[in-house]
C-alpha cells in the first residue's frame, strides 16, 4: 500500500485529476509526493466537485462533551486514564442544559462526545438523552465507545442519527504503540465498528484517522479503502471523514510524524476527488485562517464555538479539556466568515420528523 | 373424451396416458414440458398420469429467444 504511494508518477497524478473515477490507484497518486506540485490543480478539482455535490453550503454543528472519564490509555489524548485531570461526567439534566445553551445559540446539529468508560456513561444514558433532545435538534451524532449492533439500533430508535468512530491509525504497529490499555487496544474490534453502525441502520457513519500518528499518506489511502468497502456493503449509509490533527493536550504528546497544513489540504483534496459524496469535517482544532481558506475547497462540515470539556459551555467546574481549540470563534462569527466567502451556513439539514420513533431504516 | 391442448379442443381415447398422447402427437417426450390442469408434471409422471375429461394441457418447449 505504501509502495503504491511512493511509486506514483506525475503522469498518474494527472490521470487521477482528469478521471471521473480515479479509484484507489488514483487516490494513491493524489496522496503521493508527486502530487505536491499540483496542489493548486487538486484544489481546483476538489472545489468543483464539492460545489457540484454540496452546493455552496457548509453545515455547522457543535460538540457537547458529556464525560471525560476514560478507561483507555491512549498516549496522545488528554482524557487518557494515565493523565491526572479533573474528570467529570454530566448528569442527564446537565447534559440537557449544555445542549440547550447550544440550541439557543442557533445550533441544530449536535455531536455528543464522551471518553470511553461504559460504567460512567453507557447506552441507557445515551438513549435517555437522545429521547430528551430529539425534538429540539435536527440531528444528533455520537462519538463514544464502540457499541454492539443492537445497541446502535436502540440508539437509532431513540433519535441518534449518526455515529463517529475513528480508527485513529490504520497502521497496526503504530496502533499498538499508542493504545496501551483498555478496550480500545483491540484494533479489529474498533475497525469493525463502522460496519456495525451501518448494519444497525444509522443514517451516517463517520470515520477518521488522527493525523500525526502514522504516515498521513498511508492513512489517507486506508481511509479511501475503508470508504470504498463501506459504500459497497452498506450502500444506503451516508459516510463522512474527519481529519483531527494532533494539537497540544495533557501529557504533551508530540506527533510521531507531524502533518503540515499543506499535507492536510492535500489529503482533503485527494479524498474529495476520490469520493465526491463523502462529508468532510474540519474541526476547531484548526486555526481560523486555515478553516476560512478551506471553505468551498472540500470540507462540508464545520464545528463552531466548541468547548472540549464536559460542562464547558455553561456549568461550573468543567472538567479538563480533551484538546486545545485552534479556532475559538462563536457560531455567529464562523457563520459570518462562511457567508463572507459566498457560502451558506446550514444549521439544519435533517429533521427528527423523518426519523419516526420506532422506525427501523435498514436491515442487512 | 375431450381435452384442451394448447388452447384447442381435442378428442382422445378415455383414460389416455400423457406419454401415449405425446407419442400420438409425434412429440419427443424428452423435449416437452407438460402442464396439466395448472400443475407441472415431472417426466416420470408422463407414463403414469392419465388424462381426464376436460383436462387443460399446456405443451411447452424451448424455442429461440433473446
Amino acid at each position: 500500500m505504501q509502495a503504491a504511494i511512493s511509486r506514483a508518477t506525475e503522469a498518474e497524478v494527472l490521470q487521477a485529476l482528469r478521471s471521473d473515477r480515479p479509484g484507489l490507484n488514483g487516490l494513491a497518486a493524489l496522496l503521493s509526493p508527486a502530487a505536491e506540485p499540483h496542489l493548486g490543480a487538486m484544489a481546483k478539482r476538489s472545489t468543483a466537485i464539492t460545489s457540484q455535490r454540496f452546493g455552496r453550503t457548509m453545515q455547522v454543528y457543535a460538540p457537547v462533551y458529556l464525560s471525560s472519564f476514560c478507561a483507555n490509555r491512549c498516549v496522545y489524548c488528554g482524557f487518557s486514564a494515565d493523565n491526572t485531570i479533573t474528570r467529570r461526567v454530566l448528569t442527564i439534566a446537565e447534559a440537557e442544559s449544555e445542549a440547550m445553551i447550544l440550541h439557543r445559540r442557533g445550533f441544530s446539529h449536535l455531536l455528543l462526545v464522551s471518553g470511553e468508560a461504559p460504567a460512567k456513561l453507557g447506552v441507557d444514558y445515551l438513549e435517555e438523552l437522545a429521547l430528551r433532545l430529539r425534538d429540539r435538534f435536527a440531528a444528533l451524532s455520537i462519538e463514544v465507545q464502540p457499541l454492539a449492533t443492537e445497541e446502535y439500533a436502540r440508539l437509532f430508535q431513540a433519535g441518534i442519527t449518526s455515529v463517529a468512530v475513528y480508527q485513529e491509525t490504520y497502521d497496526r504497529a503504530v496502533y499498538k504503540q499508542v493504545h496501551l490499555g483498555g478496550r480500545k487496544a483491540d484494533f479489529d474490534y474498533r475497525l469493525e465498528t463502522p460496519a456495525r453502525v451501518a448494519e444497525a441502520g444509522m443514517r451516517e457513519v463517520g470515520i477518521g484517522a488522527l493525523l500525526g500518528l502514522a504516515d498521513w499518506r498511508a492513512e489517507g489511502l486506508a481511509l479511501g479503502q475503508h470508504l470504498a468497502w463501506l459504500r459497497r456493503h452498506y450502500w444506503r449509509t451516508g459516510l463522512t471523514v474527519s481529519f483531527p490533527r494532533m494539537r497540544p493536550a495533557q501529557g504533551e504528546f508530540k506527533p510521531l510524524q507531524p502533518v503540515s497544513e499543506r499535507n492536510l489540504s492535500q489529503m482533503i483534496f485527494a479524498l474529495r476527488i476520490f469520493d465526491p459524496d463523502v462529508g468532510l469535517y474540519l474541526s476547531t482544532r484548526e486555526e481560523a485562517r486555515f478553516r476560512d481558506g478551506m471553505i468551498g475547497l472540500g470540507p462540508t462540515r464545520y464545528s463552531a464555538g466548541s468547548c472540549t470539556a464536559p460542562g464547558g459551555y455553561g456549568l461550573e467546574n468543567a472538567g479538563g479539556e480533551q484538546f486545545e481549540v485552534g479556532d475559538n470563534r462563536s457560531l455567529a462569527e464562523v457563520s459570518a466568515a462562511i457567508q463572507k466567502k459566498g457560502f451558506d451556513p446550514v444549521r439544519k439539514d435533517w429533521d427528527a420528523v423523518f426519523q419516526a420513533k420506532g422506525d427501523r431504516q435498514q436491515a442487512a | 373424451m375431450k381435452v384442451f391442448c394448447n388452447g384447442e379442443a381435442q378428442e382422445i381415447a378415455p383414460g389416455m396416458l400423457v406419454a401415449d398422447y405425446l407419442s400420438q402427437l409425434g412429440l419427443d417426450a424428452s423435449s416437452v414440458v407438460v402442464e396439466c390442469d395448472g400443475k407441472i408434471l415431472t417426466r416420470k409422471e408422463y407414463g403414469s398420469h392419465a388424462l381426464q375429461d376436460g383436462s387443460v394441457l399446456e405443451l411447452i418447449r424451448f424455442v429461440g429467444g433473446g
Binding site: A43, F290 | S31, G66
Partner: protein, 255 residues
C-alpha cells in the same frame, strides 16, 4: 475468467437464439461467436408442426441454456414460466424478463423485483433483465440475483449503449456480474460496454438479422475481447480541462 453463480465462463459474449433465419444458421453463428451460454424462450408447441424443435440443433453439453421468461407481463406469469423452464431441464438458471409493454419491451421494475424475490427463494439462479436503474440493481442484488442485466437500449433497436451513464454507476456499485443486454447493435457497442467495465454482454438481434450472421458473430466476439483487454489494461482518462499545474491561486492561506 468470468464467474457467475460459481460457474466459470471463458467467453464474455452470451448469445440469443431468437430471430435467426434457420436452425442451421443459428447453430453456425453461435459456434462462431464462441459463446458458452445462450438464452432460450418457452413457448407452446405448434401441434401442426411437432417436429419443429429448433433447440435440438444445439448441443446441451456445449451451451448452458439460459431460459428466459419472455412473454411474461407480470411476476405471476414470470414465476410460472420459470417453473416450466426448470421442469424442462433448464436447470436453475433463469433470465427473468417481465415486459408488459409489447411496443417497447421495456422491463417492469416492480414485477421484476417481486419475481426475483420469489424465485430466489425457490432456488433459482436469477439473472434479471432490467432498465439501467442503479438503485434497482442494488435492490435486485440484495434480493439475491446472481447477476444483473441492464439494457443498453430497448430490445431490437440496435441503438447501442444509450444508458451509458447509469450503467457506469451500476458497474461501480455492483457486487455481482453486470451483463449489458439489449440494444447492442454493432461490435463497437459491445466494445464500449466492455471498456466501461461490464462483465459480459448479451447479443441476439444484431447477429441474427445480419447479412452474414456467422461473420457478424465472429466480429462481436472479437469486439468483446478487445473491449475487455482494453478495460483490464487501464484505459487513459478522457481529457477534461487540461490544467496540469495550476498556479496556487486561492491557497495563499496555507502555512
Amino acid at each position: 475468467m468470468l464467474t457467475i453463480a460459481g460457474r466459470k465462463f471463458r467467453s464474455r459474449l452470451f448469445g440469443g437464439t431468437g430471430k435467426f433465419s434457420s436452425p442451421e444458421v443459428m447453430k453456425e453463428a453461435l459456434a462462431a461467436s464462441g459463446c458458452e451460454m445462450v438464452t432460450v424462450a418457452l413457448r407452446r408447441i405448434d401441434l401442426n408442426n411437432p417436429a419443429d424443435d429448433i433447440m435440438s440443433v444445439l448441443d446441451r453439453d456445449r451451451y448452458l441454456f439460459l431460459p428466459n421468461t419472455s412473454g411474461a407481463r407480470d411476476a405471476g406469469e414470470a414465476i410460472r414460466l420459470a417453473r416450466l423452464a426448470r421442469a424442462s431441464g433448464g436447470g436453475e438458471w433463469l433470465k427473468l424478463e417481465v415486459t408488459p409493454d409489447p411496443r417497447t419491451l421495456l422491463p417492469d421494475p416492480i414485477e421484476t423485483f417481486k419475481a426475483t424475490e420469489e424465485l430466489v427463494k425457490e432456488g433459482f439462479k436469477v439473472l434479471p433483465y432490467m432498465n439501467a436503474d442503479p438503485i434497482l440493481a442494488l435492490r435486485l442484488q440484495d434480493a439475491g440475483a446472481v447477476a444483473v442485466m441492464p439494457l443498453g437500449s430497448p430490445i431490437g433497436t440496435n441503438q447501442g449503449v444509450l444508458t451509458r451513464f447509469q450503467i457506469e454507476i451500476i458497474i461501480a456499485q455492483a457486487q455481482v456480474p453486470v451483463i449489458v443486454d439489449a440494444g447492442l447493435g454493432a461490435p463497437s457497442h459491445v466494445a464500449e460496454a466492455m471498456e466501461m467495465g461490464a462483465d459480459a454482454v448479451l447479443v441476439n438481434t444484431a447477429i441474427a438479422v445480419a447479412g452474414d450472421p456467422v461473420r457478424m458473430a465472429r466480429a462481436f466476439a472479437m469486439a468483446v475481447e478487445a473491449g475487455r483487454i482494453a478495460y483490464e489494461s487501464g484505459l487513459g482518462a478522457v481529457s477534461k480541462d487540461a490544467a496540469p499545474s495550476s498556479p496556487e491561486d486561492g491557497l495563499g492561506f496555507l502555512r
